[in-house]
């Protein structure tokens, strides 16, 4: 009964979304106030229905209802309940249901937190989101119904893919989808601006926080995916330029550009057309990312096996959304108008250059990701584009962007001068160069690439320090404020910028030092053998049998010695998940601020010994630390008091303007 009720709820949701789209859009264009009034409540109803449907699926999983095909394919009675919950979004159908849940959630949020937005704009925005929703709900109901029954019911389920039975993998999709779906909000704002022909700094002020939150979530989602690949796949790598990774990275790059472009539109009224175009591009890449994973053309642990019918629907929907929005853009963009002028040396031009570089980087990643797919689709055989291409292309494009990250926040709006900038930044510049040249010697080996990475990271970090220092000095120079008082009076959005940029610096340090100084050893070990890596000696002391809830396996007990003294003990495991008969490596990782010690069991050999892989990874956690710092910066920026003030002000005058 429960699955049918859930199914019905989703069908109702589709009907509500259709009504919402029709009345909101036509009402806004024609000026029918009563029709426009439909948009807000229908968003709330849509979310309620979708959440209800989602709960029905979750209940089916938690109660082990193997008469539901999705539960039988992705769960098992021995599966711990937390993973049974996660299994509800572990499959193609379930993850789509999560997607529409998030979409309806964002729509409800937009309906709730948009007091200052005029009724017709809000109606257009919710109407556009409803159109997107129609596409996804139809896709779900027509081709990917998670509520399909399996009759006669299975005795037990096929179990969740062991690779997904992991906390990191559980939150990775929700975070990622919050980001992907979140970009639909700014997309809807952009389309609404095009339709209405109204795009001003107020529009930018509304859309900016939505974009930043979505971006922060996407950052976390990507970081989680990378971290998971590191500790779960057993190879110690954190980024493979895998098509599926690229599919999430491209919207991130364009989303970053969009965030910065919105900043200019809000502060200076410039870059309007560019911002709208970026919003369309970012969301299109989000859709592309969501769908690429389901197309069946990718060799990846992510790839869901799908049938051609789904692929055709997906492609059609994608072409429609991108085509229609670009057509609308081409038709209506001139109505939106141009912004203010600015000099060649100014904050605007720094941000513009940064934008262009980010988009070019995204385009080159797109080329490397889609080209093999195109060739394959045209029947020219299967090729793959190796990671060296992406590294060779991405890093040189990002280098000037990182350099500009130091300059942009310090440059003045509209017109800045090179001598002025040079004077303010010369200390940071020279310190960066000197320390970047010296640090590799401290680490052991000197290399160009390491020095280059460090220069960029230290430059960005120090430029941020200079920025803060200069600002504090200005505030305390009049004598009536202490440094501490000035510090806490600075707006959250300023700290958001500083933290996010420092996050980039931390990230680059991690990437550079791990790439330059990681050590990997594959050795054959029996009990009593040792292997040395860096300052550590690792000794295999014991191998014990494992008995888990839905797996068996072997666990090694490895002593970690420094100068003969045991400082730690690590327990790598090799598991065999009984239902799917799938082997899994559970690496043992000793995490530290300056290095990770990583041990994974490879394969057992006939004589009872094991092939063991040992890694020493310096500063690898700075990679994800940097990413989380970036996301934190985003959250800080959104928590700025001017957004709260704005909503308070419009609360008092709100109802007068929304007619």
């Amino acid at each position: 009964m429960v699955p049918e009720v859930g199914h019905f709820a989703i069908i109702l949701a589709l009907c509500v979304a259709s009504a919402q789209a029709f009345f909101s859009l036509v009402g806004a264009v024609r000026g029918h106030v009563n029709w426009m009034a439909v948009s807000r409540p229908s968003a709330y109803i849509l979310f309620f229905l979708t959440a209800f449907g989602f709960c029905c699926l979750v209940i089916s999983f938690l109660t082990n209802d193997f008469s539901v095909l999705n539960v039988a394919s992705n769960s098992n009675s021995q599966l711990p309940w937390a993973y049974r919950l996660a299994a509800s979004w572990g499959s193609h159908e379930g993850s789509l249901l999560l997607w529409v849940l998030m979409l309806s959630g964002w729509m409800a949020a937009v309906a709730r937190f948009s007091k200052g937005v005029p009724a017709d704009m809000l109606s257009l925005i919710l109407g556009v989101m409803a159109l997107v929703a129609i596409g996804f709900y139809s896709f779900l109901l027509l081709t990917s119904n998670p509520f399909d029954r399996l009759l006669p019911p299975a005795l037990d389920g096929r179990d969740l893919n062991p690779l997904l039975q992991d906390p990191g993998m559980v939150i990775h999709p929700p975070m990622l989808y919050m980001g992907y779906v979140g970009f639909s909000v700014v997309f809807a704002f952009a389309i609404a601006a095009l339709i209405s022909g109204r795009l001003d700094t107020t529009w930018a002020r509304w859309s900016r926080p939505w974009t930043t939150i979505a971006w922060a979530f996407l950052t976390v989602g990507i970081a989680l995916g990378s971290w998971w690949a590191y500790y779960e796949l057993g190879w110690g790598g954190w980024w493979f330029w895998d098509p599926v990774e690229n599919a999430s990275f491209m919207p991130w790059l364009c989303g970053t550009a969009l965030m910065h472009s919105l900043l200019v539109t809000e502060k200076r009224g410039s870059f309007k057309i560019w911002t709208v175009l970026l919003a369309i591009i970012t969301f299109s890449l989000s859709l592309l990312g969501t769908f690429l994973v389901r197309s069946g053309v990718l060799t990846s642990v992510h790839a869901f096996a799908t049938d051609p019918e789904r692929g055709v629907f997906i492609l059609g929907f994608l072409v429609f959304v991108v085509g229609a929005s670009l057509a609308l853009f081409a038709w209506r963009a001139p109505k939106v108008g141009l912004g203010g002028k600015f000099d060649l040396i100014s904050r605007e031009s720094a941000l513009l250059a940064n934008n262009v570089l980010l988009v070019v980087a995204a385009a080159s990643v797109l080329l490397g990701t889609l080209y093999p797919l195109f060739l394959d689709a045209l029947g020219f055989g299967k090729i793959s584009v190796g990671p060296p291409y992406f590294d060779a292309v991405f890093i040189p494009i990002m280098a000037p962007a990182m350099f500009l990250m130091g300059i942009g926040p310090i440059a003045r709006w509209k017109k800045s001068s090179v001598p002025d900038l040079a004077a303010r930044l010369k200390w940071a510049f020279f310190t960066a160069i000197v320390s970047a040249l010296l640090i590799p010697f401290v680490m052991g080996d000197w290399s160009w690439l390491v020095s280059f990475g460090l220069v960029m990271a230290i430059w960005i970090a120090l430029a941020g320090v200079v920025n803060l220092w200069t600002r504090l000095r200005q505030m305390t120079s009049s004598g009536d404020k202490t440094i501490f008082a000035s510090l806490i009076s600075l707006p959250n959005s300023y700290f958001g910028m500083l933290f996010a940029h420092w996050g980039v610096a931390v990230f680059v340090v991690g990437v550079t030092l791990v790439g330059g100084y990681e050590v990997e050893k594959d050795v054959k070990m029996t009990i009593g053998n040792t292997v040395t890596i860096g300052d550590y000696t690792i000794r295999l002391d014991a191998l014990t049998e494992l008995d888990g809830p839905n797996y068996t396996g072997v666990e090694g007990s490895m002593a970690i010695l420094v100068d003969g003294e045991e400082v730690d003990r690590m327990f790598p495991q090799k598991r065999l998940y009984t239902v799917q008969q799938m082997a899994m490596t559970e690496a043992a990782i000793n995490t530290g601020l300056t290095r990770d010690l990583y041990i994974s069991l490879g394969e057992p050999l006939n004589d009872g010994s094991w092939v063991v892989r040992v890694y020493l990874k310096p500063f690898v956690d700075w990679i994800w630390g940097g990413a989380f710092l970036m996301a934190l910066g985003g959250i800080l920026a959104v928590s700025d008091r001017r957004y709260r003030k704005a909503s308070q002000a419009s609360n008092s005058t709100g109802e007068a303007t929304s007619s």
Binding site: L298, L344, S364, L367, S384, Y389, I397, A583, V611
Partner: protein, 147 residues
């Protein structure tokens, strides 16, 4: 005329940068394309010399052999028509099994053995990488045509 000259120079500069950037990207692209060949094609000598490429198919049952150092393995990849011997030094991915799909990237050495740099473990829910599935599909077509 000054602003106009400035703008012209700017446009030319931008075009030059784009040109340089594009040629750079395409060069990096071309030198990193890895082509895929089925065991039949490898056996027939269709693979260009010395270049890295990918091979895919099924791991031949009972073909997995470990060398004495414990880390180097040999096995055979088959598309049910031809078998190609593969040698790999390193830990095989968890999903690697005899009788299941596999994709490896590497080079053919002088002795006709495929020396793999990577053995790929990525696959879909059916434990068959698309490239391996492709190899089996092409072999099936050849067999049908020869009937």
């Amino acid at each position: 005329m000054k602003p106009r000259h400035k703008r012209l120079i700017l446009v030319l500069l931008a075009l030059a940068l784009i040109g340089v950037g594009a040629s750079f990207v395409l060069k990096a692209f071309r030198s990193n394309l890895v082509f895929f060949y089925t065991p039949t094609e490898v056996f027939a000598g269709k693979v260009p010399d010395g270049q890295a490429f990918r091979i895919g198919g099924m791991v031949l049952e009972d073909s997995l052999q470990r060398q004495n150092d414990g880390i180097t393995v040999q096995f055979e990849v088959t598309d049910s028509i031809e078998n190609v011997p593969v040698q790999y030094t390193g830990i095989l991915p968890d999903l690697f099994q005899e009788g299941k799909g596999v994709v490896a990237q590497g080079r053919l050495n002088a002795g006709g053995i495929f020396v793999a740099d990577q053995v790929l473990a990525k696959h879909d829910e059916n434990y068959m990488p698309p490239e391996a599935a492709e190899a089996m599909e092409r072999a099936r077509k050849i067999k049908m045509e020869s009937k």
